[in-house]
């Protein structure tokens, strides 16, 4: 009896200890130690993360965690970003808001990614949560500026409104005027995705003026360059700033105004925006460059010499997003100037052109990998690659955690040897032992998957396109990658065998996406029947899968684990493979 008591703390003490544990993984581990820890933990969990909104129902979440303040939900699969998921597939947030409105009047934070958010949902949020503080909508759609007006008008304690890459119906720029004159708590505002209509500049200026705690302000393209000085004058405390359109008639007064006001922003660490840049106005930002850690020039259509000049002024840069106008020469300068660089993304300026329009090749990536010792995350679009370059990159930069390479033309071979790029990517997974995310491209056989299955033990997310020869490729990945959570595949010759042989693996993952592959309807049905805790969704706009022979491949397949069972909000072109009937329509 005494021994037992010596080892058990009062609940309050345990709760206090648990409050230092923030990560979901750790919290989940804590909750599995014993029943009493499960109980204590669930009552004091304040932040809930749901990686797939269909994996669990809102009611289940509310039942288990009665007192959370913050929720993060993700909806559509990642390939929805590239228009591979038809409109209307799902990912509606309204049911979640409706359930939480009743249960959680004290909810403070909602973060959503790839979900459909209606004005009705936004209005319900505005009405239901009196202490609402943070709304982050990332790659969401379905709402208009009317919904934003409701949030602005009602959420008196709103600190953060972040609309990242959303598709918003821009009905009226006057939604900003709905923030009452008494409202001053804004800390972060990101409206960069809003349309190019006339913005309400005076409302914006007044808002910035009275919100003295504003740290992040990302404007949209509609805000002209000559208006920026007036806005920034009221916010010298800004840490992150995104410009609007960065072009205007060259006027010395506008230039000096802008340069002056920028140089008085002593805390500025991150810059973005720069649509329609003209080089004449770029030097205005030189005074702040030495402190910059993050720079997003991915909309800036300026040429290499101007990019080089800019980048050379930023020795403390940790994150750079840029168009391929930077070219190999610019990346070489980056490699020698920015020794703290951790993340680089290079986007294509002419992705659909048949011929290269800039001199950006594998050499640029090699230069940065050799020159930047802290580089760990890369997204790189280019038109040629070699195994030799990939091996050099892997050897020199074993600390990569995210490596996403897109060779623009599918199935492009090593340009030096004309061989597949298996060995090159094999080197990446072999040397980069902490690799968590990998995107493949170029000519690849089953061999690359053998390397991945053998070496990529920490890999959590893999994206594959136009690669592999047979089911063996898929089998290597499913059987070898112990940490795999998300697998997305398109246009690969993977069929039934590997999928069925590794069915159990699918329950250990969040989701699997396969489109334009060779998985038959029969296999989908079988999988649905045998694995009740998996939702096997067939997405086919050609019509019902049973109107074609069973061995016909399905167009798109999305498989995810779920304890909520099949969903009931599917559109006519989605079917869930059920354990009972083999075919279920919503």
């Amino acid at each position: 009896m005494h021994k037992k008591m010596a080892f058990s703390f009062p609940d309050e003490v345990l709760e206090h200890v648990f409050s230092f544990i923030q990560s979901d993984k750790d919290r989940n581990a804590v909750s599995m130690v014993c029943k009493s820890w499960y109980e204590i933990e669930r009552w004091c969990r304040r932040k809930v993360f749901v990686g797939n909104c269909y994996a669990v129902s809102p009611r289940m979440v509310i039942r288990r965690f009665p007192e959370f303040r913050s929720i993060e939900l993700k909806g559509k699969p990642h390939f929805a970003d590239f228009n591979l998921v038809p409109d209307g597939w799902g990912g509606y947030v309204f049911p979640w808001i409706a359930e939480m409105a009743g249960a959680y009047p004290w909810l403070e934070e909602i973060r959503l990614k790839r979900m459909v958010v209606t004005d009705e949902s936004l209005e319900l949020i505005a009405k239901s949560f009196k202490n609402f503080k943070v709304l982050v909508l990332s790659s969401c759609e379905g709402f208009s500026t009317d919904g934003l007006a409701a949030i602005a008008a009602s959420c008196k304690n709103l600190k953060e409104l972040d609309l990242r890459d959303c598709e918003v119906d821009d009905l009226s720029a006057h939604w900003l005027s709905h923030f009452p004159e008494t409202y001053t708590s804004l800390v972060s505002l990101n409206i960069s995705c809003l349309g190019s209509d006339e913005a309400s500049f005076s409302a914006l200026e007044r808002l910035v003026h009275r919100c003295t705690n504003l740290k992040t302000l990302r404007l949209n393209r509609a805000v002209p360059l000559d208006k920026i000085a007036n806005i920034l004058r009221h916010a010298p405390q800004l840490v992150e700033f995104g410009t609007g359109t960065y072009t205007a008639d060259v006027r010395p007064d506008v230039y000096s105004d802008l340069a002056g006001v920028l140089s008085s922003c002593k805390e500025l660490k991150s810059l973005s925006g720069f649509w329609d840049v003209i080089p004449d106005y770029l030097p205005a930002i030189y005074p702040v460059c030495s402190k910059l850690t993050s720079l997003n020039l991915s909309y800036a259509t300026i040429q290499s010499p101007d990019l080089i000049k800019l980048v050379s002024h930023c020795p403390n840069l940790q994150r750079l997003l840029v168009l391929d106008y930077i070219e190999d020469s610019g990346l070489e300068v980056l490699a020698s100037s920015c020794k703290d660089l951790q993340e680089l993304r290079v986007f294509p300026s002419d992705p659909f052109g048949a011929e290269p329009n800039v001199s950006l090749t594998e050499q640029g990536l090699v230069a940065v990998s050799l020159g930047c010792p802290k580089l760990q995350s890369v997204l790189y679009f280019c038109r040629r690659m070699s195994n030799e370059a990939l091996v050099t990159i892997a050897r020199s930069r074993p600390n990569f955690t995210r490596f996403r390479l897109c060779i623009i033309e599918p199935k492009t071979a090593d340009y030096l040897t004309l061989e597949p790029l298996d060995v090159g990517f094999g080197a990446i997974v072999q040397y980069c032992k902490d690799l968590r995310r990998l995107s493949l491209s170029g000519l690849l056989t089953d061999r690359v998957f053998e390397y991945i299955g053998t070496y990529a033990k920490k890999l959590e997310m893999l994206s594959v396109a136009f690669a592999g020869d047979s089911d063996l490729g898929l089998h290597h990945v499913l059987s070898g990658c112990e940490s795999l959570r998300k697998l997305e595949i398109r246009d690969c010759p993977f069929g039934d065998k590997a999928l069925l042989a590794n069915a159990a693996k699918l329950e250990t993952m969040r989701s699997l996406w396969m489109s334009s592959c060779a998985v038959s309807f029969a296999a989908c049905k079988l999988l649905g029947q045998k694995m009740p805790r998996l939702n096997v969704e067939v997405i086919d706009e050609r019509g019902p899968p049973d109107s074609r022979p069973e061995n016909c491949p399905v167009d798109k397949l999305y498989i995810y684990r779920s304890i909520a069972g099949p969903r009931f909000d599917m559109p006519p072109f989605v079917w869930t493979m059920d354990e009972d009937s083999g075919l279920r329509l919503s």
Binding site: D165, V250, I278, A465
Partner: protein
């Protein structure tokens, strides 16, 4: 005479139209080359335009829009402005978009009005002739052609005027 078309010697496969001038994949060129040389390759009918694959390359729609917007600007309607010269009886009209830069434009003006412009320098304007090309900008001011970057010039230029005589020489005085 119609029979001539069918039997005339042409560069290209029989039945193909010679008009288009696009590049061909390298292998085909090697096959066709023979005695005719590499120029054959240029005159073959182009292979059909590659169909765009859905969702490839994997770029978000808002990025694609940004790129397309830039392209449309350059393919859009021309920028037509009136050009006058001191002493000429009537004005002319030109499309600024067809010129690649100042040298191209000035050459065209010289041909159109049969005169010679001097050499441009930032300090002294157009030295060595009686003529100076000027333009009216968005603010209604008359400016010397050549001071601004080309892209800015074509968006702010409303009309052109080629000044002649003492007025023109006055512009070259480094003011």
């Amino acid at each position: 005479m119609e029979g001539c078309v069918a039997t005339e010697l042409r560069l290209g496969l029989p039945g193909t139209d010679n008009v288009r001038n696009k590049k061909r994949p390298l292998q085909e060129a090697d096959e066709e080359c023979g005695a005719n040389g590499k120029s054959d390759a240029q005159d073959e009918t182009a292979p059909p335009a590659k169909a765009q694959i859905v969702g490839w390359p994997p770029i978000r729609s808002y990025r694609k829009k940004n790129i397309q917007a830039k392209k449309n600007d350059s393919e859009g309607p021309g920028i037509y402005i009136k050009v006058g010269m001191d002493g000429a009886p009537y004005l002319r009209k030109i499309d600024l978009k067809v010129y690649s830069g100042y040298p191209d434009l000035l050459q065209a003006l010289e041909n159109m009005f049969k005169f010679t412009i001097g050499k441009y320098s930032e300090r002294e304007g157009y030295k060595g002739s009686d003529y100076a090309p000027t333009y009216e900008d968005k603010d209604g001011d008359w400016m010397l052609v050549g001071d601004d970057p080309w892209e800015m010039f074509i968006t702010s230029c409303k009309r052109l005027r080629i000044m002649k005589g003492s007025e023109a020489r006055g512009l070259g005085c480094g003011v």
